[in-house]
């Protein structure tokens, strides 16, 4: 479904991605873990061309592109196949929830307005916001905003949705609602690549967990492999810091 080969990316002299490979099959949920600064966000942004990689290849099903020199057309095509959920939601402040969801359909894909509205409402219903169609982002709580962000991604019916720490800007109390929504859409068979610190989500939902550090993939495996019996020292050290002390008891 999505295959990434040997992404490199530097900012100035800082090499952030030092050759990352990644494969996701249709319907899979892959979670990326890693300490701050390890390049997780950068990886996601390169896949969606929000950042231009220095080198690397991507294959989306049939479509093969070079991540450095892709044409505008290819970039557009890939963006049609992917959707992005941002850490800080990035809802369009000047649009209502429904308009946020339909904007990409109407303006980007030229879907007729009535049809787009139907799709948009369905997507908002799915994330439990049937009563918030006409609310502006400033009128929504963080959790609601992020759910609109997810609906916006879902409505585009993309081949894959990229999530960048979708819950880390939320109050602890609001995290749950967003994770629930994410679990639901994962269960529907949506392909997802998720950067998150929510271990319970990784444990319950992920098919595979990838641990990144210093711009490379350090370790990769099922949640059980990574959380219970990590092989690499770096992985162990990271998990020790992030998990509750007695986490292993209950996994």
């Amino acid at each position: 479904m999505l295959e990434i080969k040997d992404i490199h990316k530097s900012f100035g002299k800082n090499e952030i991605l030092k050759g990352v490979d990644l494969t996701i099959d249709k319907g899979d949920v892959v979670v990326i873990l890693g300490p701050s600064g390890s390049g997780k966000t950068t990886l996601l942004r390169c896949i969606n061309f929000l950042e231009k990689a220095d080198s690397g290849k991507a294959a989306f099903g049939e479509l093969q592109v070079d991540l450095h020199s892709a044409s505008k057309k290819d970039i557009h095509a890939i963006r049609q196949k992917t959707a992005f959920v941002f850490q800080s939601y990035n809802l369009f402040n000047n649009k209502t929830a429904l308009e946020n969801v339909t904007e990409g359909l109407i303006t980007g894909r030229k879907v007729p307005k009535t049809e787009a509205n139907e799709i948009g409402k369905k997507a908002l219903d799915k994330v439990g916001l049937s009563d918030k169609y006409d609310s502006y982002p400033s009128q929504l709580s963080g959790g609601q905003q992020q759910r609109v962000g997810i609906a916006r991604a879902v409505a585009l019916n993309p081949d894959i949705i990229l999530f960048d720490e979708p819950t880390s800007a939320l109050d602890p109390e609001l995290v749950g609602e967003v994770l629930t929504v994410m679990k639901n859409i994962a269960n529907e068979g949506t392909t997802m690549l998720v950067v998150t610190h929510e271990m319970s989500f990784a444990k319950d939902v992920a098919k595979r967990v990838i641990f990144m550090d210093g711009g490379v993939v350090v370790e990769e495996g099922t949640p059980h492999e990574i959380f219970v019996s990590p092989k690499e020292e770096r992985t162990k050290k990271f998990l020790k810091r992030v998990l509750p002390e007695d986490y292993t008891f209950y996994i």
Binding site: L50, Q80, F86, N93, E103, S138
Partner: protein, 237 residues
């Protein structure tokens, strides 16, 4: 004055001053019509650091901000005809530069200075719209142009509006220097009227009143418009 104010003159001249309002507004409107799009485009060249245009805008802004508008008026009023004749003579165009109504000089000067102000206004307004907005728009498949038109500009405009209002008010005030170009605006009209009976204090009081009324109305209009644009920022809770 020692013999007190001439109230009849004060009242009469108020209407004379008022009759200069259309010219003032006309010049203001033309300057804004030129400066809004131009200022926006040049602001984009600043933000996106487009090599030559960026430097040009920078120097341009620095000059306009750095020199008094009255001196800009003097310079434009004295030099534009010279330059234009030089050009028309060179190409043997048969254009009568000097039939130009002074209002054209006013258009040039005020568009010129307002553009510079608006470059800075738009530059700071655009920088308040987080990059995430643009990225989110791209991520849902909008082109750059669509993203600007539908997402970035509407938000930047709201932020820019109070500053555009200030720029407009300053522009209206600056047209009072149009007398130096024989522009028949509020100040000059009242001054000519004052000349007959030397009622300068009354005339300036009238000018003062007219400007306060005019500017207050303009500010009020902007406030209303801003309120409408801002509707998405109201938190209901």
């Amino acid at each position: 004055m020692s013999d007190g104010l001439n109230y009849k003159f004060l009242v009469d001249t108020f209407f004379v001053a008022l009759s200069g309002v259309p010219i003032t507004l006309f010049v203001t409107a033309v300057a804004l019509l030129v400066a809004l799009p131009l200022g926006f485009l040049l602001a984009l060249t600043r933000i996106n650091q487009i090599p030559i245009l960026n430097t040009f805008s920078q120097v341009y802004v620095s000059f306009v901000r750095g020199t008094p508008i009255i001196i800009q008026i003097f310079i434009v009023y004295a030099s534009v005809p010279l330059i234009l004749t030089a050009i028309t003579e060179k190409y043997n165009w048969n254009i009568k530069i000097y039939d130009i109504n002074p209002i054209w000089y006013a258009f040039i000067v005020f568009s010129f200075s307002t553009t510079a102000i608006l470059i800075e206004v738009f530059r700071s307004a655009l920088s308040t719209v987080s990059k995430g907005q643009l990225e989110a728009a791209q991520a849902v498949g909008l082109t750059n142009f669509q993203a600007y038109r539908r997402i970035v500009i509407p938000q930047a405009l709201v932020v820019a509006l109070p500053n555009i209002c200030t720029a407009t008010v300053n522009l209206i005030k600056a047209t009072s220097l149009g007398y130096a170009m024989s522009l028949q605006e509020i100040t000059l009209k009242a001054k000519v009227a004052a000349n007959v009976g030397y009622n300068y204090v009354e005339a300036y009081l009238d000018i003062f009143l007219v400007y306060i009324i005019l500017c207050s109305l303009v500010e009020y209009g902007f406030k209303l418009y801003e309120k409408r644009l801002r509707k998405y920022q109201y938190v209901s809770s």
